[in-house]
Symmetry: C2
Subunit: 224 residues, 2 copies
DNA sequence: AGGAGTTTGTGAACGGGAGAACAAAACGAG
DNA sequence: CTCGTTTTGTTCTCCCGTTCACAAACTCCT
């Protein structure tokens, strides 16, 4: 009955997967402070979640805590990193080196969290002279050789919306199987290709919705 | 009973709220193409969701379609915009005009989707000479007068993680009640203040998890 | 005018995730 | 060695969201 096989946990819920990186970050903070052990309660507070939820999340990975004691920070950190797959760096290409692409290329946080930007691509030939964050901006046409050479499986799209689908198609054709999309478009990709979108306007609109709610519905809350 | 009150629908599920902006965008596309009417199926495809889900989502707003016909693009677009609260522009301040802050300030998509950046703030005095996207970068100390003058209720944090909590506290103290946070930190704010976070590293790590899965998974039982 | 064909709006079943609560396990004191 | 304390791992229940399926409502054609 549900024999636990720590080496290859196999059915981690999406909601849990999305929180593991948060735990990882909290554990890294602890480690930097010199904390060697923490309880589920401490870690939960640091990650901003309920401690029962945290324990349940961790239980999907295996049984890495010690009852009555807590978790070894370094050990748990490694286990989560291993589960996510960031014990080694993933090569990443960024396509579309405009406003956003520049910021992404210069962002040091990727490197420290398991990703290495190996190439910056843009269709605009006038950008080809540029060096951003120590990397040449190269032609989008080079994608094939770059993906092949560095075994890239993750691509970031920071082009205008109109170009995003074409860029995604090209990425997929060259073997990229995970895409992070910043363009405000719904991408369609074959089965087996993972897509996540980051849409800042949507985030703001969600905030606006609740904001509007606050001013219209003061009756129920009575914010004096 | 559930008497439907189209003027002030009041209990829209979070999941639905998060999708309304996507529908809004799809409808705007339709309008730009000159399409005046669309079915739930067409809109659903364009938004990348199931059509039953779309209809249920829309039903929370009221009954704005016509059976046997579909939805009037312009009319529905307006109703969704009104529900979200983006029929008029929301003033927004951006704090932290570094790599990411520059990109955000230069992004034209906010303006066209119901938001107007009214001020750019940074703690670094050497940035104060700069003009970004037609706006002066001003001292973070000016936040009080700016928020008061423009009746700002939405703030964007693009500072390093270490500064994010202090910036958030200051925002809240000055009356900002919705925060979009790009710094990789868990913010703690009083009840009644809305926070949404955008964390690019987490998005990549989620992709990495599934990516790793793909290469390990083929041997379902016995990964030698 | 009536019937056939569409498409919406929603009731109901289903699945997954959140949180409370508790038993099992480890540790330390005496 | 035994007991009490602490904290994990897990079970159970509830709620939210998704999806199916269908009656109601509208148009168009004859
Ligand atoms: N700037 C922001 O803060 C921001 C915020 C939210 C969303 N976005 C979205 O991110 C995307 C990029 O925004 P931006 O402000 O950097 O735009 P931008 O116009 O500054 O940059 C786009 C870059 O993509 C390149 N490009 C265009 N077509 C291409 C193609 N087919 N192949 C490769 N490269 C191509 C262009 O040459 C340009 O360098 C847009 O879709 C935008 O809606 C940007
Ligand atoms: N650049 C990216 O693409 C990217 C991607 C993901 C996340 N982030 C996150 O976004 C944040 C900003 O990233 P960045 O690359 O723009 O960093 P950055 O260092 O280029 O810019 C940060 C800016 O914030 C200002 N600042 C610092 N403390 C401040 C304070 N107390 N009040 C006001 N302003 C202050 C600094 O003067 C600087 O101009 C970081 O938390 C980073 O982790 C950035």
């Amino acid at each position: 009955m549900t024999a636990r096989t720590p080496d290859s946990a196999r059915d981690i819920p999406e909601a849990t997967v999305a929180r593991l990186p948060v735990y990882l970050r909290a554990l890294t903070s602890f480690a930097e402070e010199g904390t060697t052990t923490c309880s589920s309660e401490e870690l939960a507070v640091s990650a901003g979640v309920n401690s029962a939820k945290l324990r349940k999340d961790l239980s999907y990975l295996g049984s890495y805590g010690t009852r009555g004691v807590g978790y070894d920070v370094e050990y748990l950190r490694y286990q989560i990193a291993r589960e996510i797959g960031v014990t080694h760096d993933w090569p990443v290409v960024i396509v579309g080196i405009g406003n956003l692409g520049h910021a992404l290329a210069n962002y040091s946080g990727f490197r420290s969290r398991g990703f290495r930007v190996v190439a910056l691509l843009d269709a605009d030939p006038t950008r080809k002279d540029e060096v951003v964050a120590g990397l040449d901006v190269r032609s989008f046409e080079d994608i094939e050789s770059i993906v092949a050479e560095h075994a890239v499986s993750i691509g970031v799209i920071a082009t205008p919306a109109i170009a995003a689908q074409a860029v995604a198609d090209r990425m997929v054709a060259n073997g990229i199987t995970s895409i992070l999309n910043f363009a405000p478009t719904v991408l369609s990709v074959p089965d087996g290709v993972g897509v996540r979108k980051v849409d800042l306007s949507i985030e703001l609109q969600i905030l606006a919705y609740h904001e509007q709610r606050k001013s219209i519905a003061p009756a129920s809350e009575d914010a004096s």
